[in-house]
Amino acid sequence: MEERDVILSVRNLDVNFGSRRKPFRAVKNVSFDIYKGETFGLVGESGSGKTTIGRAILRIHPVSGGEILYKGERISGKISRELDRKVVSEIQMIFQDPMSSLNERAKVDYIVAEGTYNTKKHLSKRERALLVDQALLDVGLLPEFASRFPHEFSGGQRQRIGVARSLIMEPEFIVADEPISALDVSIRAQVLNLLSKLQKERGLTYLFIAHDLSVMRFISDRIAVISRGQLVELAPSEELFRAPLHPYTKALLSVVPQPDPESERGKKILVYDPSVHDYDEDPPVWEEVVPGHFVLGNQREMEGYRMEANR
């Protein structure tokens, strides 16, 4: 594999909630690198901690251990003002539900421009309006829409407004948290096309969070699978679908719905049972079994994984 620039690097990340005496460990010792220009998929069930990781990167949740590096600089914990400003504009987020993520009482021009009021204070009214127009055009909406309210738009259009709002900040890295889960089939395709078009034009990097592996295969270059706050497997998309190693990944793959009645009827659902691991005596480690393919397991399991991966 050729050398690529790492844009974001998560190192031994821990995120805890609740009191210090009795913390709830939402994210446990998670490490991964995201390369510039790629789409990195993060898949897991609800409650697995995937959104928490996204939010930790955006500095919404404080990290309890480990660190997050953006372009080689630490952005977790206490950071300088200049860096904070840079991170705020360069790392943006797209939310899941376009119905609830837009301010109902604000017009589209304010919603889209909101970020610039903090980061680009020198702009005149006119300059700001031009920026909004351009952002709307970039996502395939008309500049006229700027004076309307969110309720006047359909789900797909609202999601585009959500994208425009992050684009105006000229981001390099976008955390997309289930951006298409709440949308209709036909509109999903439109939003996915838009995201990939923007990626090509601007060299954006995406962290794409979802629970549906079938969509992930199409959009992600690499996929990480998370379960109960821990990464269990990380591999290039095709490799993950061809040779899943961890039992949890296998279980997830077995339930992916396919639009094929024959195979759906004969399908065997695998259930992941965490008690198959004997981690009490032999704790698991995060290891690269073949280049680019990481998996969580202890020494005994690792041998099996290695054999499976090389088959």
């Binding site: 395709a189 396919q258 094929d260 024959e262």
Partner: protein, 347 residues
């Protein structure tokens, strides 16, 4: 030949909205057979939910049936649901003959009442059970939908249940009065894929055990492939194609069905643009001339804009409303990528 349990004939449903009339269901006909699972697919706004609300008398107050009939073949008599007037007619029918589960298990339960009392309500009203008999019936229902430790769980509140478990509770309420037909309106859309698979399996089990007929509304074609015996594709208030699951997935005939299948990300090729349907669904306030999908169909024929196509039969179980099936029509091939649907689940 299978026996019908529900037969909709030329049904028209309209809504009064600020002095204008919206034609939500346009002269729709469909038969539902005893013991089958019929999936209804379509975009939001295509009328899937409105259609089904007619079957249980829950149409919004500004909506009304404007012609057509909905025949329900009960054990003893045939009844026309379109002629039902008011709650009185519906009370003995809803829940007992036809029952419905809704999309969001977070909002369809009362947060202030225990799970047990919410299930008991349905059992008490319809089966006239009281005291310990009622309790036992509730526990049996909970057990039936796969909730362990029913005695304890019945005393808990909805917030103590996860999404999947709440959906099980909703299902328990829906089957409390042994209905013949269960309408499932996007029952798994709000759930995780793993939980979704469990709920789908539960529904299949219950269908077998209770000899249910299921009408399954969804926009997720993966789910449809999993549960459906037959599939009806809805567009702009009408069914444009209907057939067995195999026929609709492997040999679709209507351009709208092609478009729906083509836009699936599962069929996409990485690095290439996904197919997406251009334009927006038609305005149902205005009368629709010709084929409702024609304006969004790049291969539409001239006649599509002039005259509404009738159903053309592809096989005794498969028909589609498109002029492409007319013997005089030019030959239009379905898009390339939807030809490989068969067997894709194994790749």
């Amino acid at each position: 030949m299978q026996k019908q349990i529900l037969s909709v004939k030329d049904l028209d449903v309209k809504f009064n909205l600020r002095g204008r009339t919206l034609h939500a269901i346009r002269s729709l006909s469909v038969d539902v057979y005893r013991g089958e699972t019929l999936a209804i697919v379509g975009e939001s706004g295509s009328g899937k939910t409105v259609l089904n609300k007619n079957f249980i008398g829950l149409l919004d107050a500004n909506g009304f049936i404007d012609g057509g009939e909905i025949l329900y073949y009960g054990d003893h008599e045939v009844r026309d649901l379109a002629k039902f007037k008011g709650e009185k007619d519906w009370l003995g029918f809803r829940g007992r003959e036809i029952s419905m589960i809704l999309q969001d298990p977070m909002t369809s339960l009362n947060p202030l009442k225990t799970i047990g009392s919410q299930i008991a309500e349905a059992v008490r009203v319809h089966q006239k059970l009281v005291g310990d008999d009622l309790k036992v019936a509730v526990h049996e229902l909970l057990h039936e939908v796969g909730i362990e430790n029913p005695e304890k769980r019945a005393r808990q509140y909805p917030h103590e249940f996860s999404g999947g478990m709440r959906q099980r509770v909703v299902i328990a309420i829906a089957i409390a009065c042994q209905p013949k037909i269960l309408i499932c309106d996007e029952p798994t859309t709000a759930l995780d894929v793993t939980i979704q698979a469990q709920i789908l399996n539960l529904l299949k089990e219950l269908k077998k055990k209770l000899m249910l007929t299921i009408i399954f509304i969804t926009h997720d074609l993966g789910v449809v492939a999993n549960v459906a015996d037959r599939v009806a594709v809805m567009y702009a208030g009408d069914i444009v194609e209907i057939g067995t699951a195999e026929e609709v997935f492997y040999d679709p005939r209507h351009p709208y069905t092609w478009a729906l299948l083509s836009s699936l990300p599962q069929l996409g090729i990485k690095g290439e643009e996904l197919y997406s349907i251009k334009g927006t669904p038609p305005n149902l306030f205005a009368p629709i001339v010709g084929d409702a999908f024609a304006p969004r169909n790049p291969q539409a024929l001239e006649i599509d804009f002039l005259k509404e196509p009738p159903y053309f039969e592809v096989s005794p179980t498969h028909k589609a409303k498109t002029w492409l099936l007319d013997p005089r029509a030019p030959k239009v091939e379905p898009p390339e990528y939807i030809k490989n649907i068969r067997g894709m689940g194994r790749r």
